[in-house]
Amino acid sequence: MPCPPHLASSRRILSLWLPALAMDRWRLAMGEAGAALDAGPLVLIADTAHGPRIEALNGIAMQAGARSGTMLADARTLCPAIATAPADPAADLAFLEKLALWGRRWGPWSAMDAPDGLLIDVTAVPHLYGGEQHLLADVAKAFARRKLAVRAAIAPTAGAAWALSHHGPPNAIVGGAGSHVEEAIARALADLPVAALRLDQDVLTVLRRLGLKRLGELGTIGRDAIQRRFRNRKSPAANPLVRMDQLLGRVPEPLLPVVQQDMPLVQRRLMEPIRHRPLLDQVLGDLAADMVRELEGRGEGARRLEIGLWRVDGEVVVRRLELAAATREAAHICRLFSAKLDDVDAGFGIEMVRLRASWAEPLALEQGDIEAAAEAHGTSLAACIDRLTVRLGEKAVSRPVPFASHIPERAQRWQRPLDPEPASQGELAFHQRPLKLLDKAEKIAVLYATPDGYPKRFRWRGQVHEVARVEGPERIAPEWWRERGNARLRDYYRIEDDAGRRYWIYRLGIVGDGRGGLPDWYLQGLCA
């Protein structure tokens, strides 16, 4: 949907590109120790299936002929003196995330442009710096102070700003107020290469073969021709027309802002290292009360809590607790943790205790004094399940849910008790099912008229049952898409013996099905 031109024209987006992010970060992290290495050719490498590959490199290595993305062995043939250090893309991304938050000094809203860029909305901000030129100067100064290389550009759309920062002149500014923004962008960017459209490599190859090298040339062959060629490409990164429209501001381009979320964390530094459990319980109680206050202020409840115990000798003992539902009750937290802290070795003493809620969910404010209410009215289901799982283990408490399968033991799965039930088609209740299923069907010896007569008598767990009444068979074929080809079918019978006991038994296979000898009988379920 085309967005109104006045909206597109009113926005100002600042795009920042850090061309040497990985290398700069490595230098900052190493400090003086890395200076000697950095004086010669240096590359950051990542291990791949075909050997180490160059991810980033410094200027000297670049002059020596190494390129990013080539194998280290190839670069060594050109320049045997290349020094290496491991690349760390995850840390680079985390660093970029921090930079995105830091970049809010120039605008109220910033987004990451992984792996090495930032987009900041600076609409209505530049006058605070005395104009856009001065804003860009401030950006350059701030990044220089942090020893990071940067290229910046300001444009009315994110696409145009990105194109300018990566492929345009340094500190480019495009468009101003007015209704001719689109023409202004198109004119300013006409000379940039098509790579400025943020397209995939294969699309760029296609465009190059078509002879379209500059953005301005895209308009010369007509929109219909490009539309026809790329009619199957829906994703923006594969369709130059969508990218062009985003760049000109004809279609909106949603960007995901970085939102800072800090976990509630409380800690106690202790004057004297503690070595005894009652003291630790006291500290835990204080921490839980602090945590509850912290959570209450945010209107949240904890789903996962981590307690860290720092010992005098530097060891850190961590215990983790997961709750069935968001909670904000100090007594409940203490009670659950006290079971987990039984095997903690205090050593020479614990000098710091830290409690962190690494997962919190919104929880409305409630009336206080819950624990006193629990004495009178009982606990809630979530608290009950928490207590059970802490003592009996995560697996012990579960809820049966249906699963799409005909095989009776697969037709039911066990999941955590408070998770929502998976969507299911509902059961086709043509046949009755037993009240209880044995964990593993037990083999029984059955007297029956071959090949497929009713069972007359059977022996189970050392006792003989005379079959009085039978219903069946209910034939359940094996799941051929999952099981081996020689899996046998099952004929289920609901039976009642002379004493009135009701069972659910099956015969595995029939005589002469070519999948084994005489069929075996199994008892799988006990009917009510």
């Binding site: 059970l388 049966p400 009510a528």
Partner: protein
């Protein structure tokens, strides 16, 4: 014997109803929960070779649950869950609950707990009884574990009374040991009524239930069955029917030793002062 609370009845009906109730209250019958409240702690003794125990316990629990009047402040529709605790031994012997085989309105409610040891199972039962979001708790314990002694069962009874959550404890292959359960049943399967369309097929489940110990009720034997969503019970007619207004339950046929019988009489004497079963804590 106990006298039911008659204050809620209209004046004119009191004469007839009082005698009727007094006569009938001597015996348990389905739907009793509507008048006397839920049976809070029941034990069901059963062989591990059949699922009759779990079936009958569920039927009794559902009967109480459906017939208990809803309070003013409670929600009109009960959406609480059901806790089903099994020891691993009990699960091995008699299997785990099968969702498709459960009664229709129980399927989405069941929360299953698998305990390794009987101690863990008792802990889980007690925590379940403390929980206000559970309609009732079903337990299955195999044999006579040392930890399930009179103290433990008394503890369960008290918790159940205090929080008003009924407990139905299925005892697989167990001796009739000491227990403070309010109602103790011995259940076996019995031939089911023939279905309408196929007389050769097993029908709706039926159990022979022997109430051998109850507080506030006279023991007896019933054939329990499913009558279209409600529990129906018929008295066994092959046993001598004691007079309905018999004063002393001690003359009832009791499969117990003389010591247990004297204990039973002491309890029934005490029951006269108590407001019958179903008192809330």
């Amino acid at each position: 014997m106990t006298q039911p609370d008659l204050s809620s009845l209209p004046e004119a009906a009191i004469e007839d109803m009082a005698t009727l109730c007094a006569r009938r209250s001597a015996r348990w019958w389905p739907g009793l929960a509507a008048q006397e409240g839920k049976a809070l702690h029941s034990e069901v003794f059963v062989s591990s070779r059949e699922a009759a125990g779990a079936g009958a316990a569920l039927a009794l629990a559902l009967d109480d649950w459906r017939n208990t009047p809803r309070g003013e402040t409670e929600e009109a529709e009960d959406r609480r869950g059901v806790l089903w605790v099994q020891t691993r031994e009990a699960a091995r012997l008699s299997g785990r609950p099968c969702r498709a085989g459960l009664p229709e309105d129980m399927r989405h409610r069941v929360i299953h707990v698998l305990a390794e040891k009987p101690e863990d199972a008792l802990f889980a039962l007690e925590e379940g009884l403390r929980c206000r979001d559970l309609a009732f708790v079903v337990g299955e314990v195999a044999g006579n574990p040392r930890s399930l002694d009179f103290t433990a069962s008394r503890r369960l009874t008290l918790v159940s009374q205090k929080h008003g959550v009924p407990l139905f404890l299925v005892r697989l292959d167990a001796r009739r040991d000491l227990s403070s359960a309010r109602m103790r049943w011995e259940v076996t399967s019995t031939p089911s009524p023939a279905p309408r369309w196929n007389a050769q097929a097993p029908g709706a489940p039926a159990w022979q239930a022997d109430l051998f110990r109850a507080r506030g009720h006279r023991p007896g034997t019933w054939v329990l069955g499913d009558g279209g969503g409600v529990l129906v019970a018929s008295r066994r007619t092959d046993q001598p029917e004691p007079a309905a207004n018999q004063a002393d339950p001690r003359e009832q046929r009791l499969p117990f030793s003389s010591r247990a019988r004297s204990a039973g009489s002491a309890r029934s004497a005490r029951a006269a002062q108590w407001p019958a079963r179903g008192e809330r804590g």
